[in-house]
Symmetry: C2
Subunit: 415 residues, 2 copies
């Protein structure tokens, strides 16, 4: 028993890449038992870069922590039957299941209709690319979103590196899953819950006001580099070649910048000069060029350490830019000083610092980070526990090539 | 009764800006009753740009659709008492409440400890900037994440325009809320659920393998423009000055590109030339320069319409780049042809196309998009319904300035 808040909830995940795996991992980090079923040899994401020197995928291992792994010959009726039995297994007194999470094409044996014949109250979460079922991935959704054209200094598209739509989709899936499970406890009904990755994008573009802005004002917001739209903020270079982001949304934050930099009096000259009210967000946005000129000069004369010292305890909203290495090396939030982090022994990768889930619940210890399984690591145990198969029966399934046990990446390569 | 899957769940939101409002709106889109409480005159986000010609905030209206709005003098003991009564109201036979969602500093009367004295099983979701309670916003979290330095063509930081951390945080909050409410139905316990915006970022950087990559390989991934890392993909200019994203992750997608463009034979020369296996993701990534050279030439000779025609039904994973205006004007997914969209009459803004929530549930009609309330629109109704106050009692609260009714932005400006 895990002790997490979703203890006694069981979810089967048949997935690849980011969105559904993030959803499953989020549930596992809350204490649910998440069983990821993969084809023998791994799914299409199993060798995704970056790789560790051993050849193991750092990508796969990072997106599947805390899950159990079962490897089945999903291209055979026998393998499909075992998958179906795991998905549709009746609840036990101490565990609620009957939930499938997938972002793979869910046709044939894995359709909601087919699986529902084996468990009428099945909840199935299904992520597709587009709402009509056609394919799309984060990259092809993002290009359509408007954000790459609004990013950077000119109209040339700049793709985000963070797969933001996949992450949001993963968390919409966990939300939808818990909502459907809540409803099932009231009405006993199973449900298929559908989500399209491009709808996640479209909903977010709408939620942030971009669609209404075009409709009402007829304007498309131009790219403006790192300037914060409608308020005050930008990146500034420091004397030692680093960059900092400085932001003011509230008047309090705005005044804090003046006080901490000693620029209050000079800032006060800008209002009359630019004919705006600097005590409003819009006014500061309109006069940002003049404000930035003063802040550029101030930052360029100081090192990152000096700026950090000047801003400490000042109420200024700011932060240093860091690359991934600096994040790990320099940011105390990215270390065991932050209770979200711990060390794990990740097979094929080594002993590393890794995050647990970010949600904390009072009266409930946060589950520490757990490693990802090796592919097929839990096959035998899950078949015995959940389907009551004997060691002899499991042995026969191995001999027939219907299931596979733990395999390191090297073993699979050598086959 | 809304008919959504979270019907009969009630959440009080005391919030500003993006993260908690996205969380509350997501719940409202699933049928929960979400009551947003604001100070009279609006919270700090009430005038946020972009604005409609009327002065109404398009930003606020887009992030608070489908909620009810109550305006209270939150800086007075009387206003706080009403807020507390709404938050801590006992459940009725047909509605479960006792849930507060906030991303504001939750001290004093709004602390979990103080509110729990009025309802012992209170669930309170609290988003902070950092795990130690210090402040941070999407911009100051993002700069630290490593992504701005990995974005674009060189090491100069490029901020994302999409507030991705806020969106993810909003959806972690809905996940945590439903998990805590699930546990409460089992054990009757209230809980404070905490989430730090920077932990959302740190967890995601870890989940995507960046932290492990630095630890294991000692390398920091350099910015590589719009090239897809570890697979094949990039933007290409068309003859008519548009751009398209073309991606291949699977071998099937890779072969589809060759077939649709007629470049299969030329692609076949690249493997021996670059000494890589083009039937692997890594091989295509290593040889991407040569592959891109052929695709650049192919795209530059064709219009966007010609490329769309060549790729239709081909299995090629691609998409056009669109700005926000083109998204609305040209993309059929962003129209009423997509069942997620509908038209709403938004006070102060007009009749506009707006998205509903992206999750669909079989056997449950998707709730259509609903407008955001005017500030204080539901004050009187909520006080009467939830607290049983008479019209006379509510009138006295208005006279005393403790509550306020519906106010358009113009009314508030004129005060």
């Amino acid at each position: 028993m895990s002790g997490g808040i979703l203890e006694a909830l069981r979810v089967v995940e048949v997935s690849a890449f980011i969105a559904a795996p993030v959803g499953g991992m989020t549930l596992a980090q809350l204490g649910a038992e998440v069983i990821r079923i993969d084809p023998i040899g791994g799914n299409i994401d199993y060798r995704r870069w970056p790789l560790a020197p051993s050849g193991s995928s750092i990508y796969w291992a990072s997106l599947n922590r805390g899950k159990r792994s079962v490897a089945l010959a999903l291209n055979t009726p026998e393998g499909q039957e075992i998958a179906r039995a795991l998905i549709a297994r009746p609840d036990s007194p101490d565990q609620t299941g009957g939930i499938l999470l997938t972002n793979l094409p869910a046709a044939g044996w894995m359709s909601h209709e087919a699986l529902s014949r084996h468990r009428a109250d099945l909840i199935m979460l299904r992520l597709t690319g587009n709402h009509d079922g056609s394919g799309a991935v984060d990259y092809t959704v993002n290009c359509a979103s408007g954000f790459p054209i609004a990013t950077g200094r000119d109209a040339a598209p700049v793709n985000h590196v963070l797969p933001a739509w996949d992450i949001a989709a993963g968390l919409y899936l966990t939300t939808g899953l818990l909502a459907a499970e809540r409803a099932r406890r009231k009405d006993g009904q199973g449900r298929e819950v559908t989500l399209a990755l491009s709808d996640v994008m479209l909903a977010s573009v709408g939620n942030l006001g971009y669609l209404a802005d075009v409709q009402v004002n007829g304007t498309v917001r131009p790219p403006m580099g790192n300037d914060l739209y409608g308020a005050l903020g930008r990146d500034f270079m420091t004397r030692d070649g680093r960059s900092v982001m400085i932001v003011a949304i509230s008047n309090r934050q705005w005044r804090a910048i003046g006080k901490a930099t000693g620029l209050t009096e000079k800032f006060a000259m800008i209002g009359p000069m630019m004919e705006v009210d600097l005590d409003t967000e819009g006014g500061r946005f309109q006069a940002r060029g003049a404000i930035f000129a003063l802040l550029e000069h101030w930052c360029a004369g100081r090192s990152l350490a000096e700026i950090a010292a000047a801003f400490a305890g000042s109420g200024v909203l700011w932060g240093p830019y860091q690359d991934f290495g600096q994040l790990l090396a320099e940011d105390p939030r990215c270390s065991e000083a932050n209770p979200m982090f711990g060390r794990i022994d990740q097979p094929g990768i080594g002993n590393i610092l890794a995050p647990a889930g970010p949600l904390g619940f009072t009266g409930q210890a946060r589950l520490p980070p757990r490693p990802a399984p090796m592919l097929g690591q839990d096959t035998d145990e899950v078949l015995a526990e959940m389907l009551g198969l004997s060691a002899a029966a499991i042995g026969k399934l191995h001999d027939a090539g219907t299931v596979a046990g733990p395999a390191s990446f090297e073993t699979i390569q050598a086959r």
